[in-house]
Each structure stands twice: as structure tokens, then as C-alpha cells.
């Protein structure tokens, strides 16, 4: 066989190299040198991320291993986006991972994290369901371990058991769907499935489709497959929560698009268009309705991320490059905004152990910088100009309406009305920090330098990603050349 095709997998290979280096250092480095582990990991991964950006501009689009694996500039791009997110997560997690309870296991944390990332790569690049399932599982199983990382906190265990049980259940359902697909088409290659099922839908196809959507929707936490989200986000250690909320969601969203377009694109009108509409409306609305009441910041962001997933899905309905670009851009912006929020939450949690919205009252008096970052994050998530969130929301709506039917106008209108609800609960945080007059329960503290670096990166992203149009334009050009549609 032609080994040159491994070159197409250079990102995966590079990631594996990083993983191995971290693993080896963690295993064989002398005790006193281990303190540098976090720094080394961040540095290695940072180098890798930057390198990835350098290469993906001239990225090729080709398939490897008899078409099981595909890569293209836009795929390289989404992987890079994930890398950026992971890098920020790594930086933000340094303080937490080095505290007494977890310091001995920090190596495992990094390794598990990198492995899950590798799984996500496979999910994104897979063009064959076997590869996809392997990616899916290796992206979700280690996460269960990471969720359970806080031995001391009971919530951590509860979250992880809930996560593992529901995850395995959903993957069982998913594979059931796959077996139907296989029975119908006799192949697990996306392209061959596309050809085999043709453009007329049958109960079997719809059943298979529903199960597949349920399986991926679980990762994306689309309503009604989202119920694990809140508990797991709340229970998991905050860095893991932020990782779950942005990275795995982002990768799943992209993979979802690929599956829907590549295998089931032909049965768009008479199978999954309406499923998708229903899911989007449900997701956005239910997510918002739950988010209104939340007092625990992590749980609150969990539900907000549920509704955000709904907005991300809007990028799919167009089934065109514009939608793809809007989606990738949305994910990018979402990574920055959400990680900014989580960065503030972590900083506060690490220093005071408080994660309740009521504890944030009057924060602007004691910690103006943190509350400013938090406010920007909230505004960006709510889609307020001139922050990046506004642009991503506007673009994704525009891309969705590009599809042109009356139904899509109604759908977007509902989504837009939901933005008001979301604005309400995002403003609740701002209100708690800026407007309420009670003296703050959080005294002034100095956040660690890694936290600050992370926040600076994310805030810079929030401010500049939108106004600097190069980013979107670049993504769009890549999406045009993606060859997915």
C-alpha cells in the first residue's frame, strides 16, 4: 500500500507526537522536573497549534485508506479551531490541575484530554462509519474519566456515572441505527450509503436516520437528547466542563454536518429537513427556558450552551458553503466567548470556590477586570455588537435564510425571538455584577498569570474576531473549496 497517504493525516500524527512526548515526560521525567509538565504541555500544544495554522492555508483535500479518511482545508481549519480551544483550556486549567488533590494525576488529565481530541479528529475526518464510531467512542469514553477527575467532590462521580451510562446507551442506539443503514445500503462508506439509499425515503431510512441523529445529537446535546448536559457540566471539574462545552460540541457539530450531507444529503427534503427544524426549535427554546432559572454559573452556562447548539445547527439547514463557513465561524467565536466566561468562573472558583450567580453580586466593585471580561463574554454570547458574537449570529441567520423557504423564515424568527430570552439571562449576570448594590461576597484577589493569559487571549478574540473580517473571509474561501456539497 501507499504509505504516503499517512501524510494526509499529519495533524493526527502531530497530535499523537505531542501526546507521546507528554506521556513519556510524565512517565520518565524525574520527580522534581515534573513541575514543568503543565508548562511543557502548553508549550508543545501551542507550537503544534501555530504550526497547524501555517499548514492549513495550503491544505490539500484528498482521501486516504480507500476513502475511509478525508481531509480538506476546511477540515484542517476546524481542527485548528478546536486546537485553539484546547490550547486555551490547557492554559486555563494549569492552576486547577496543579492543586494538591490533582497534582499527582495531572499527567493523566493531559493524556486523556489529548486522546479525546484525537478521537474528535477522527470523527471529523471519518468518511466511513467504522472510523467514525471509533472516533466517537474514543472522544467520549475518556471524557467520562475526566469528568470523574475530582475524587474529593461527590458531584464529580455523580456526573461521570450519569455521563457514562447515558453515553453508552446513546451509542447503542446510534449503532442500532448504523446497523439499519448497513442493512439498507450494504456498506458503511458515506459515499456508497449516499448512492445506495437514493433520494426516496422509506420507514427504515427514517428510523435509521432518527437513531443516528439521536446518537450524534447526544454529543451535541440537542433537545431531547441533552438531559445529561446540565448535570455533567455542573459536576465535572470546570476545565473539563469548558472542554466539553466547546471542543466536543464543536467537533460533533461539524461531524453531524458531514454525516447529514454526505450520507443522507439525498433525502434532505423528505426525511431530515423537518427533523432538523423541530430539533433546532426545541433545542433553542428549551435550553433558554431552563437557563432562565439557573443560579449555578456552570449549570447556567450548560443550558446556554444547549441553546447555542441550536443556533449552530442553523448552519446545516442551508446545506451550502455559506452555512458551513458560518458554522465554523460560529464555533470559533463560541469557543472564545464561552471560554472567556469559563475562564472567569475558574479564576473565581480557584480563588474562592464560589460558583453561584448570587456570589457574583457587586463583583465589579471588587474585581473590575474579571467582571469586565465576564460582561464581554456575556454580550458576545448574547450577540451584541461590536463583539464577535453579533457577527457570528448574524452570519448564521443569513446563511440559514439563504435556504429560502417560508419555513426557514419562521424558524429564524423563532430563533430570533429566543435571542431575547437569552439576552435576558445573560443580562442577569451583568446585572448581578454591575447593578445590584449589595456588597460583594468575593473580596478582591489577584488571579494567577495563566488565568490572565487565557482571559487576555479570549477577550482579544471576542473583540477582534468580528471586526477583523479576514477571519470569516478566510473560512468562507476554505468552505467554498471544501467539496462537501
Amino acid at each position: 500500500m501507499d504509505y504516503s497517504q499517512f501524510l494526509l493525516m499529519k495533524q493526527e500524527i502531530a497530535l499523537l507526537v505531542v501526546f507521546l512526548l507528554v506521556f513519556l515526560y510524565d512517565t520518565f521525567a524525574p520527580k522534581k522536573a515534573l513541575g514543568a509538565l503543565s508548562g511543557i504541555t502548553c508549550a508543545l500544544f501551542g507550537i503544534y497549534t501555530i504550526a497547524g495554522f501555517c499548514t492549513c492555508v495550503t491544505g490539500v483535500s484528498d482521501t486516504a485508506f480507500a476513502g475511509m479518511y478525508a481531509t480538506s482545508p476546511i477540515i484542517a481549519m476546524i481542527k485548528n479551531v478546536l486546537n485553539v480551544g484546547v490550547l486555551i483550556v490547557l492554559i486555563q486549567s494549569v492552576k486547577w490541575v496543579n492543586n494538591d488533590s490533582t497534582v499527582v494525576r495531572r499527567g493523566e488529565f493531559y493524556e486523556l484530554l489529548l486522546v479525546t481530541l484525537f478521537g474528535m479528529y477522527l470523527m471529523i475526518s471519518a468518511r466511513h462509519f467504522l472510523l467514525f464510531v471509533i472516533g466517537l467512542e474514543s472522544a467520549s469514553l475518556p471524557l467520562a474519566a475526566m469528568v470523574a477527575f475530582d475524587k474529593k467532590r461527590y458531584e464529580s462521580h455523580e456526573a461521570s456515572i450519569k455521563y457514562i451510562l447515558t453515553a453508552v446507551f446513546s451509542s447503542a442506539i446510534f449503532m442500532m441505527g448504523l446497523s439499519f443503514v448497513y442493512g439498507l445500503s450494504g456498506s458503511l462508506y458515506f459515499s456508497e450509503i449516499y448512492g445506495a439509499i437514493g433520494s426516496v425515503s422509506s420507514p427504515m431510512i427514517i428510523c435509521a436516520l432518527a437513531f443516528v441523529i439521536a446518537g450524534v445529537g447526544f454529543k451535541l446535546s440537542l433537545v431531547p437528547f441533552h438531559l445529561w448536559t446540565a448535570d455533567v457540566y455542573q459536576g465535572a471539574p470546570t476545565p473539563v466542563t469548558s472542554y466539553l462545552s466547546v471542543i466536543s460540541k464543536g467537533s460533533a457539530a461539524f461531524a453531524f454536518l458531514v454525516i447529514l450531507v454526505q450520507c443522507f444529503g439525498a433525502v434532505y427534503e423528505d426525511a431530515w429537513e423537518w427533523m432538523l427544524y423541530a430539533l433546532i426549535i426545541l433545542t433553542i427554546t428549551i435550553g433558554n427556558l431552563f437557563a432562565i432559572r439557573q443560579r449555578n454559573m456552570k449549570r447556567f452556562l450548560a443550558f446556554s450552551s444547549v441553546s447555542q447548539a441550536g443556533y449552530i445547527m442553523l448552519g446545516i439547514v442551508g446545506m451550502n458553503a455559506m452555512g458551513l463557513a458560518a458554522m465554523v465561524y460560529y464555533i470559533l467565536v463560541y469557543v472564545f466567548s464561552n471560554l472567556a466566561a469559563f475562564g472567569v468562573i475558574q479564576a473565581i472558583e480557584n480563588n474562592t470556590g464560589k460558583v453561584d450567580m448570587d456570589d457574583y453580586r457587586g463583583l465589579s466593585k471588587t474585581n473590575p477586570k474579571l467582571s469586565f471580561a465576564m460582561m464581554l463574554a456575556m454580550f458576545s454570547l448574547a450577540g451584541i455588537p461590536p463583539f464577535a458574537g453579533f457577527f457570528s449570529k448574524f452570519f448564521i441567520f443569513t446563511a440559514a435564510i439563504n435556504q429560502g423557504s417560508i419555513a426557514i423564515y419562521v424558524l429564524v424568527l423563532i430563533a430570533l425571538i429566543n435571542t431575547i430570552i437569552s439576552l435576558y439571562y445573560y443580562l442577569l449576570v451583568v446585572k448581578a455584577m454591575y447593578i445590584s448594590d449589595e456588597p460583594s461576597t468575593i473580596e478582591r484577589f489577584k488571579s494567577s498569570c495563566t488565568d490572565r493569559v487565557g482571559l487576555i487571549i479570549t477577550v482579544a478574540g471576542i473583540i477582534f474576531l468580528g471586526i477583523v473580517s479576514v477571519v470569516y473571509n478566510h473560512i468562507l474561501t476554505l468552505a467554498e473549496r471544501s467539496g462537501l456539497f
Binding site: 456515572i161 450519569k162 451510562l165 447515558t166 446507551f169 446513546s170 442506539i173 425515503s201 422509506s202 420507514p203 427514517i206 428510523c207 436516520l209 432518527a210 437513531f211 441523529i213 439521536a214 447526544f218 433537545v223 431531547p224 437528547f225 438531559l227 445529561w228 446540565a230 448535570d231 423528505d270 426525511a271 431530515w272 423537518w274 427533523m275 423541530a278 430539533l279 428549551i286 427556558l289 431552563f290 432562565i292 432559572r293 430570552i421
Partner: protein, 691 residues
């Protein structure tokens, strides 16, 4: 000419700005002097202009046939609505505006002079806000002058509003008094309501003139063209473009406009415009503000609410008279309103106690005279008691009465002011028998009363006589009616006179110094005005002020006497004298007749005394109906229904969020159930929909 015209408007305005802004840096004395001097100069300018207009014989003002012409001194665009229609601010000189210039400036100057004395108490302490007072007086004079020289109806409306505002400010001069504040508010709002009619009338008029007129509407909309003489057989003496004249004529005569509720829309327009006049001139049922307006300082009442502003309504009708002439229905309405108001006001005046109220109601009644006499004017040959009536006599009579009435009513008010200033009360029960103490005031007041009662040879006699003649010329019924009102006028004025100066001896209370005549600043105006109201009757109005500039009498000094219609004159004289005699019998000496009188007809007396409960009616309408049944419900609706709906959205969202929280039960079984049901439903529903 043009410069003096501009100055006539500019000086009062500048005086207002100066006194208003810099007033508090001036001493009271100098503020007064400045204001008075300013007004004096304006008066001189106005006299020169009027004199030039009437007597110079310049071909701008009078043509070789001896007809007086309308002359636009200047006319500048102020606001372009669109290319065809714009508001212009200008200076129109014609008989009535020239006459009004004289009236306004004279009275205004008198009042300025008078106020120097009136606005301080016996110890010479100035009223607070003395400068403000003069500023407002100047503002008023400016607005009133601007109103009378208006070249088009828009300009008239603008200054109409300004006049109302300055009247508001002056009535509310004593702004710490509740009564004054509410009176000023009432005055403004009632007139504003009338102006609504005026505005709509203007809108209709402007639309039609524009709709049927070709070319620039603005030209067609100046008074010169609007009032271009419509009636055939009489030369169009105003020299406007024949086309425009024809257009307007055609528009109004064979009313091309659609009908609305039985009358041509143009009739409606004219009636609505007259409604504006009713508001300013306090015709029934919009008269209620004028009596309350007496809360203002007395000089103000003399200037605004007796002589000048209140006749603006009459002036407005006279201004547009040729249009009204083409819509007899409108004229009839004016007649009826005027006649009813005249009688009503006279009856009420007989029973008032506050001397300023009496004067106020007599003002209403007198203005009603003018209205009636405009209303009965027709261009046809008619006779009164066998004698020939000149064409358009009523118009002339009305203007004549406006002139004379301004003089003697101002005189009466200033006299009343002198009394009030001396006594410190508006109430004649506090006065009685003042003739010894205040001889000058007494004499001048008497002259005023004689004038208004219409005793030859005082001013009122001639004008009122002309009016009655005109009435006879139109319809005997109205003539008798108005004659009766004239009798009432004589009666109530002399009732007032006797009650103030006779009835019983004035007793000076301990500690009070005896009342006495005023400083020259106050007596001088009285004397001058008295003199005017003696001689004003001999002004040959017939040759100066007529509806189409075409003189109807000679211009000799005795021409009014010569042209008297002795039948009518004697009738009115007799009635007047009867009225005076009755008053004398009842009120000269203290006696019980009045008592018996209103025991005899208690209801009539009570109704008159309470002004037929008009105020109560208005109170009910505004507070109970407008506020109670409109405003409050709307406010409630806004707070509870509209706002409630908005809040309801939020509440519903919150409720929903609580209602569905059960799904997030934290129980894995539940989660899996929902997951499964979701997946199955997704499949099932899609199958049902698609297949």
C-alpha cells in the same frame, strides 16, 4: 414707509427681548420709562403710517375713483411648505388694518403710561416682576400688531397664537394666586380649542385654493386676492390678477367643493374659521374665559380683554368678509351667535357684583354687537324705517363700533382700575359714593358710561346707531332684539355707575386714608381717553373704512350727523335714556327696589348671577368627562392592559420554565426514557408527515 412699517413691528419685539433678558438688571423706574417710550415711538410711527394711508392721496392707497386700496408694504417668505404654498410674513395696509394700528398703539401706550402708576401701591412700592410686566406688554403689542397687519391667513394664525400666549402670561401675572393661574390656563385652553377650528378651517381653505388654483397658491392666498371683490357690478378695486379673482369667485359662489353634512365644505371652512374668532372674541359658548381673565392686572384687562385682543375675532371676520359674503349661511350663523351672546352677556352684566366682571360682560355684549352688525351686512339695496341703507353699512358700523368701543371701554377699565387701586377691592359694595373723593375718575367714568350707553353726542351713540340701522336694513326682528340689548346696556352701565359713585356716602374706616385720585401717570390716560370718546363719534368712518374701500359717505366733520337715520337714532336714544332712568331710580339713593326686584324674579336673578351655570357645565365636561372618562381610563389601560401584556410575556416564560423543570429530574432512568421517546417520536412523526 417700509422702514416705519418694519419698526412698528420691531420696536415692541426688541423691547420685549430687552426687558425680558436684561430686565432684572434695570431699576423698575427705568424699565417702565423704557417700555412706555418704546410704545410711544411705535404709536407715533403708527399714526404717521395711518395718516399717510388715509390722507396722503398716494396712488398706492387710493385710486382716482376715490376707492381705498389694499397695499402690501412688504411680504417675505418665512416657511415654504412646498413649491406652491408657503407662509409669508408681511405688512398689509388697508382701511381696517390702518384703523387697528391706531387703536392698538393708542390704547397700548395709554396702558403703558397708566401702569407706571398702577403697578405700585400707595407708598410707591413697585410690584414684583414689574419689568416682566412691561416685557409681556411689549410682547403682546408686537403680536397684536403683527396680527392686524397680516398679509395672509397663516401669518394671522401665527400671531393669533402669540397673542393668546401673551394673554396667558399676562392673566397669570400674579402667578402665586391660584385663581389667576387657573384663569390664565382656562383662557389659553378655551381659545386653543377655538383655534383648532381655526386651524382646520385654514387647512380646508388652503387645500381648495390650492386644488383649484393654478400657479402659486401663496399668491392666491394673500388676503388681497382672497378678498378680491366677488360681487358683479362693483369694480374689483383691489387690482389682483383677474385669474385668481375669478378662481376664488368660482370656487366660492358656485361652490365647486363637495358637500359635507348639507353644506359646502367651504361654508364649513368659513364657519370653522369663525369658530376661532368666537374663541378670541368670547362669543357664546366659548365666552367663559373672559370673565375669569379679569384676574389679571386691570391695565391688562383694559388693553387685551377690552380693546384689542378680544376684537380680533371681529377683525378676522371683517378681514375675510368678502368670502363670508359669498356664503350667506355663515353670515347667518354669525348673526345668531352674536345676537344671542349680546343678550346673554347684557343680562348677566346686570347682576354681577365685581365691577370688572360687569365690564367684562359688557365687553362680550358689545363685541357681539359688532359681530351682529357684520352678520347682517348684505350687498343689496335695503331700507331701514323707510330710509335708504348704504351698501355694506353693517361692516362700516361694526368697524366704527370696534373703534369707539375700544376707546371708551379702555377708559372704563382704566377708571375701574383707578377705583380698585384706591379701594383695594373689585367689589362695588366696598365703594359706594366715591364721587367726592375721586372727581376726575368720576367724571371720566361717567363719560365712558354715557358713551357706551349711546347718548348723543358721545362716541358710542353714532356707532351703535349705525349698527341698529344695519340691523333694521336686514331684518326687523334682530333690530328690535339688538335695540333691547342696547337698552339693557344703558341700564347695567348706569347701575354700575350709580352703585360706585352714589348709592350711599362712603365711610372711611379708621386707619385707612381716604381714597383719592391718582398720580398724573394714571389720570392723564383717563382724561385723554375721555376726550377721545367724546369726539370719536364724529370721525367720518363711512369715507374711511368700508368693506370694499368704496366710500359710502362724505368725509366732512359732521357727515355722521348728516347721514343719521333719525328714525333709528331717536329709537335708540329713547331706549338708552329709559335704561338710564330705570338705573337711576333703582340705584341712585340707597333703597329697597333692587331687593324687591330680585325677590320678585328669584330664578331669573339667580341664573343671571351664576352666568347661566356655563362654568359649572364646562367644569363638568372637562373634569368629569374628559379627565374622568377619557384620560384616566386611557392611563389605566396603558398601565394595566398594554404594559400588563408585555409583563405577561415575561411571566409566561417564567411559568413555562418552572413547568418543565421536572424533566431535568436528575434521574438517569428519566433521562433515558425521554431520550428514547424523543428518538422514536422523531422517527414516527417524520414517517407520518413524509410518507
Amino acid at each position: 414707509m417700509e422702514t416705519s412699517a418694519i419698526l412698528i413691528l420691531a420696536i415692541p419685539l426688541l423691547m420685549f427681548l430687552f426687558l425680558g433678558l436684561a430686565g432684572k438688571y434695570l431699576t423698575h423706574k427705568w424699565a417702565g420709562i423704557l417700555g412706555t417710550m418704546g410704545m410711544g415711538i411705535t404709536m407715533c410711527l403708527a399714526y404717521t403710517v395711518a395718516f399717510e394711508y388715509f390722507f396722503s392721496g398716494n396712488q398706492f392707497f387710493i385710486d382716482e375713483a376715490g376707492n381705498r386700496l389694499q397695499h402690501v408694504v412688504f411680504n417675505h417668505d418665512w416657511l415654504n411648505f412646498y413649491d406652491k404654498l408657503s407662509i409669508r410674513i408681511g405688512f398689509l395696509l388697508d382701511p381696517i388694518s390702518a384703523m387697528m394700528l391706531v387703536v392698538i398703539t393708542t390704547i397700548s401706550f395709554m396702558v403703558h403710561l397708566y401702569s407706571n402708576g398702577y403697578m405700585r401701591d400707595h407708598h410707591g412700592v413697585w410690584e414684583t416682576g414689574f419689568q416682566r410686566f412691561y416685557a409681556f406688554l411689549s410682547l403682546f403689542s408686537f403680536s397684536m400688531l403683527g396680527l392686524v397687519v397680516a398679509t395672509n391667513i397663516f401669518q394671522m394664525y401665527i400671531f393669533w397664537e402669540l397673542v393668546g400666549a401673551s394673554s396667558y402670561l399676562l392673566i397669570g401675572f400674579y402667578y402665586t394666586k391660584h385663581s389667576a393661574v387657573s384663569a390664565s390656563k382656562k383662557a389659553f385652553i378655551v381659545t386653543r380649542f377655538a383655534d383648532l377650528g381655526f386651524l382646520i378651517g385654514i387647512l380646508v381653505l388652503s387645500f381648495y385654493v390650492g386644488f383649484y388654483g393654478e400657479g402659486n397658491i401663496t399668491d392666491a392666498f394673500t388676503f388681497t386676492s382672497l378678498t378680491s371683490v366677488p360681487v358683479d357690478g362693483i369694480a374689483d378695486t383691489y387690482h389682483v390678477s383677474e385669474g385668481t379673482a375669478q378662481m376664488i369667485r368660482g370656487l366660492f359662489e358656485n361652490s365647486a367643493a363637495p358637500m359635507f353634512m348639507g353644506a359646502s365644505v367651504l361654508t364649513w371652512a368659513l364657519v370653522l374659521i369663525f369658530m376661532g374668532g368666537m374663541g378670541k372674541s368670547a362669543m357664546m359658548p366659548l365666552h367663559i374665559w373672559l370673565p375669569d381673565a379679569m384676574e389679571g392686572p386691570t391695565p391688562v384687562s383694559a388693553l387685551i380683554h377690552a380693546a384689542t385682543m378680544v376684537v380680533a375675532g371681529v377683525y378676522l371676520v371683517a378681514r375675510l368678509f368678502p368670502l363670508y359674503l359669498m356664503q350667506p349661511t355663515a353670515l347667518d350663523i354669525i348673526t345668531v351667535v352674536g345676537a344671542v351672546t349680546a343678550l346673554y352677556a347684557a343680562m348677566v352684566a346686570c347682576t354681577q357684583i365685581d365691577i370688572k366682571r360687569v365690564l367684562a360682560f359688557s365687553t362680550i355684549s358689545q363685541i357681539a354687537f359688532m359681530m351682529v352688525s357684520l352678520g347682517v351686512t348684505r350687498i343689496d339695496h335695503s331700507t331701514a324705517l323707510g330710509h335708504e341703507v348704504h351698501e355694506g353699512l353693517g361692516y362700516m358700523a361694526s368697524m366704527f363700533h370696534l373703534f369707539t368701543h375700544a376707546m371708551f371701554k379702555a377708559l372704563l377699565f382704566l377708571g375701574a382700575g383707578a377705583l380698585i387701586h384706591a379701594i383695594g377691592s373689585n367689589d362695588y359694595t366696598a365703594m359706594h359714593g366715591l364721587r367726592k373723593y375721586m372727581p376726575v375718575t368720576h367724571l371720566t367714568f361717567l363719560i365712558g358710561c354715557l358713551a357706551i350707553a349711546g347718548i348723543i353726542p358721545f362716541a358710542g351713540f353714532f356707532s351703535k346707531d349705525e349698527i341698529l340701522t344695519a340691523c333694521f336694513g336686514h331684518s326687523t326682528v334682530w333690530a328690535i332684539w339688538m335695540a333691547a340689548v342696547a337698552g339693557l346696556t344703558a341700564f347695567y352701565m348706569f347701575r354700575l355707575y350709580f352703585l360706585i359713585f352714589w348709592w350711599k356716602e362712603h365711610k372711611v374706616h379708621e386707619g385707612h386714608h381716604a381714597p383719592h385720585d391718582q398720580p398724573w401717570t394714571m389720570t392723564l390716560p383717563l382724561v385723554i381717553l375721555a376726550a377721545i370718546s367724546i369726539v370719536a363719534g364724529f370721525v367720518p368712518f363711512g369715507s374711511l373704512v368700508t368693506w370694499n374701500g368704496h366710500p359710502i359717505t362724505g368725509d366732512g366733520f359732521l357727515t355722521n350727523l348728516e347721514n343719521l337715520n333719525w328714525g333709528v337714532a331717536s329709537l335708540s336714544l329713547i331706549i338708552a335714556i329709559i335704561g338710564i332712568l330705570v338705573a337711576m331710580v333703582m340705584y341712585k339713593k340707597e333703597n329697597a327696589i333692587p331687593e324687591r326686584m330680585h325677590n320678585a324674579l328669584p330664578n331669573l336673578w339667580r341664573w343671571c348671577h351664576h352666568r347661566f351655570y356655563w362654568d359649572e357645565l364646562y367644569q363638568f365636561i372637562t373634569h368629569r368627562i374628559i379627565f374622568g372618562l377619557v384620560c384616566r381610563p386611557i392611563a389605566w389601560f396603558d398601565r394595566h392592559i398594554i404594559d400588563g401584556t408585555m409583563d405577561a410575556f415575561a411571566a409566561v416564560t417564567n411559568k413555562a420554565s418552572f413547568a418543565i423543570r421536572g424533566f431535568q429530574s436528575g434521574n438517569v432512568h428519566m433521562y433515558v426514557w425521554i431520550y428514547l421517546i424523543g428518538a422514536v417520536l422523531l422517527a414516527a412523526v417524520t414517517m407520518i408527515c413524509v410518507l
